[in-house]
């Protein structure tokens, strides 16, 4: 009956939802080749090629991300990136030099950097999004500079002064800022994760860390006493929890990463289209353990493979529930965005990934 009705009045029914998975088709061995060539050219050009290397790498990764049959594209201009990079080198170099010259100059420079950082992050977000496109439509960022200062400077400082009690709130605000101010064409992302959910996630993290630490400590003490009786030395028993505590804490960290990632993306929408994230701590554990072992045993040659696997896992945990179709998005034509902040953010290794 309802099916008949839908056929008669299609406009009245909610648009059909199709599940579109992100698919990542990059391969470790291909990225390995790109990586080696990039490294060689960057080193023999004393770093100048790194701007082109960045563009090549980004183009490779973006073009291998597929969603609903189409792939993404990166448009960063190497010359603009090089300019940003040079400014970044000058800024961070000046900072390092000031630190070496005298503690006072170092502190002054630290203050300058802290005051500049939100602006640089803001420019960098604009640059990264403006230079990404999907189906011929570019992404963008409209967040205000004031918002950047509030979220990247004022709130983090406030969280330090409250001994971290405010930190989950700050985390939520930063993600909210990034996700509500980003757009794909003329369609904005939205973010509806509550502050309470962030507090809950952080609360679980702390309970697991402290509770697990105490449990392992007690177990170690008992084991030490038992081994002492058996004449094997109490020291051996005390070592066991130390060996166990490290993997335990890592597992807790992975679980937390998965929870936060899912929390953020399950509450993010692009217009009417909802994201679903299904990351698990077991998945992260498998990935991190094998990647780390791979990198150690190949003296680093596994790095590009590890990188591809990491991006693949993160992307393929994510699904977009497309309500109706993606066709309704229109382009917003805007001016170019400078790569000024991009250089510093890259050099400082700040991860802005949405």
């Amino acid at each position: 009956m309802s099916a008949v009705l839908e056929k008669i009045t299609p406009s009245a029914a909610p648009p059909a939802v199709t599940e579109e998975r992100f698919v990542f088709t990059a391969s470790g061995s291909e990225y390995f080749r790109i990586w080696i060539v990039n490294l060689l050219l960057t080193i023999v050009t004393l770093g100048v090629y790194s701007a082109w290397a960045k563009v090549r790498t980004h183009q490779y990764f973006y073009s291998n991300i597929r969603l609903a049959g189409s792939s993404f594209e990166y448009h960063g201009n190497p010359l603009a990136i090089l300019k940003g990079l040079l400014i970044g080198v000058a800024l961070l170099g000046g900072y390092q030099l000031a630190l070496h010259l005298s503690p006072v100059a170092g502190f002054a420079m630290m203050g300058v950097m802290a005051a500049l950082l939100p602006w640089l992050l803001w420019k960098s977000l604009q640059f990264a999004l403006h230079n990404s496109s999907f189906r011929g439509i570019r992404f963008g960022f409209r967040g205000s500079l004031g918002g950047a200062y509030l979220n990247y400077l004022v709130l983090p400082i406030a969280s330090v002064f409250t001994l971290g009690l405010l930190y989950p709130f700050v985390h939520q605000r930063i993600k909210r800022f990034q996700h509500t101010e980003s757009r794909y064409g003329d369609t904005f992302f939205s973010f509806d994760a509550k502050v309470g959910a962030f507090y809950k996630a952080y609360g679980h993290l702390i309970v697991l860390q402290i509770g697990g630490g105490i449990a392992l400590g007690i177990a170690g003490a008992i084991l030490g006493a038992l081994l002492g009786w058996a004449g094997l030395g109490a020291k051996a028993g005390m070592i066991v929890p130390f060996i166990l505590i490290y993997p335990y804490m890592l597992c807790v960290t992975w679980a937390f990463m998965a929870v936060i990632q899912n929390l953020i993306w399950n509450h993010t929408q692009l217009g009417p289209h909802r994201f679903v994230s299904t990351m698990t701590w077991q998945g992260l554990m498998k990935l991190y353990v094998t990647n780390t072992l791979g990198m150690i045993f190949t003296l680093g040659l596994y790095i590009p493979f590890a990188h591809v696997r990491m991006v693949k896992y993160r992307l393929e945990c994510t699904t977009l529930l497309v309500a109706g179709s993606l066709d309704d998005v229109s382009a917003v034509k805007g001016g170019e965005v400078g790569a000024l902040g991009d250089g510093v953010v890259d050099l400082a290794g700040i991860d802005l990934s949405l």
Binding site: I34, V37, S63, I303
Partner: protein, 335 residues
């Protein structure tokens, strides 16, 4: 010939995300789309994305409209037929043989850079840099140490003056030794001697009592003067920064912990080289002034005893090679 190849795909007009079903073909040097959208543009005004194993090869037009082929094979043969050639870097990236050569070249460049170019370059820059620049480095370090690690010296003034005068009388092994200031301190962290970029050579009371032998104390001071004369602070600073920068470049994709370790390990060698250079400087200085090298040996032996007694080297010595090794090296030179 090229007329025969038609590539089905989707066209995005750059205005909306809607896909238009089209067929691409190349005629008379023009890329032409037909179907739900029409356009014919000279090939020179169309950008083709670089070749990779699995990503689609897109055509992008000047107005950011783009064409995405449904299948790779048809697009590849069209590009082949139109004589499109990949850039040299792309060809390099796609060939395992070229990449193997690139990897070998990379290892070679990194190894020679690390072993020869960087030490030589850093030494050259350090010598070219006026001394006053180095003297600016690490200002305030002594204040911090005085507050946290040192107390005023308890050595009698006469003993301090005697030591300072004895050292001032020694001629350095080569000309151009920088001015220095000799400071005595009582230490909370055990026997110690070090030079600061400011030109201050700090000697602790504990080391003076440990060595007993005045000539061995002069040998210690000669080692520290060697650090100043060889411009080790500036050189280490340059070498350390470059190693960290290249380390981040190479290992940056790894986690931060793994990224820091190789740079740390690689820096150790430079630290050892600097110590050996300072040892050689001290040996040359003693020889120049007719002091037996046995006194330098006495210093190493005393430090070795200390290492064995404490199990681990005292804090400042952790950057130095084990004394037994330094001793063995000195003995080899004596033979």
């Amino acid at each position: 010939m090229t007329d025969a190849i038609a590539v089905p795909g989707r066209f995005y007009d750059g205005q909306s995300a809607r896909a238009h079903r089209v067929v691409l073909s190349v005629r008379d040097g023009h890329a032409c789309l037909e179907g739900e959208a029409q356009r014919c543009v000279p090939l020179a005004q169309v950008r083709v994305s670089e070749r990779t194993a699995r990503a689609p090869r897109k055509l992008t037009f000047a107005d950011e409209a783009c064409f995405e082929p449904d299948e790779r094979a048809a697009m590849e043969s069209l590009l082949h037929a139109t004589g499109h050639r990949d850039g040299s870097v792309v060809r390099l990236q796609q060939s395992w043989r070229a990449v193997s050569i690139a990897l070998a070249a990379l290892v070679l460049v990194l190894a020679t850079g690390y072993l020869y170019v960087l030490p030589a370059g850093a030494a050259w820059i350090a010598r070219a840099l006026p001394l006053s620049v180095e003297r600016q480095l690490g200002q305030g370090v002594l204040d911090v140490l005085d507050r946290h690690a040192f107390r005023p010296t308890r050595l009698p003034a006469a003993r301090r003056t005697a030591l300072a005068q004895a050292f001032a009388r020694l001629a350095p092994p080569r000309d151009g030794a920088p001015p220095y200031r000799l400071l005595f301190r009582q230490s909370r962290i055990g026997p110690n001697a070090f030079a600061l970029p400011s030109g201050d050579i700090v000697l602790t009371d504990e080391l003076v009592t440990l060595l007993e032998d005045d000539q061995a104390i002069l040998a210690t001071l000669a080692h520290e003067l060697g650090h100043l004369h060889e411009r080790h602070m500036t050189r280490r600073l340059i070498q350390g920064s470059v190693v960290t920068a290249v380390g981040t470049l190479v290992f940056g994709d790894a986690t931060s912990l793994l990224a820091g370790l190789p740079a740390l390990a690689l820096d150790l060698r430079y630290s050892r080289d600097a110590e050996q250079e300072a040892d050689d400087y001290a040996a040359a200085m003693l020889r120049q002034n007719g002091i037996g090298l046995a006194h330098l040996e006495r210093l190493f032996a005393a430090l070795q005893e200390l290492e064995e007694k404490d199990g681990a080297p005292p804090p400042y010595l952790s950057s130095h090679p084990p004394s037994a090794e330094r001793l063995a090296r000195l003995r080899r030179q004596l033979d």
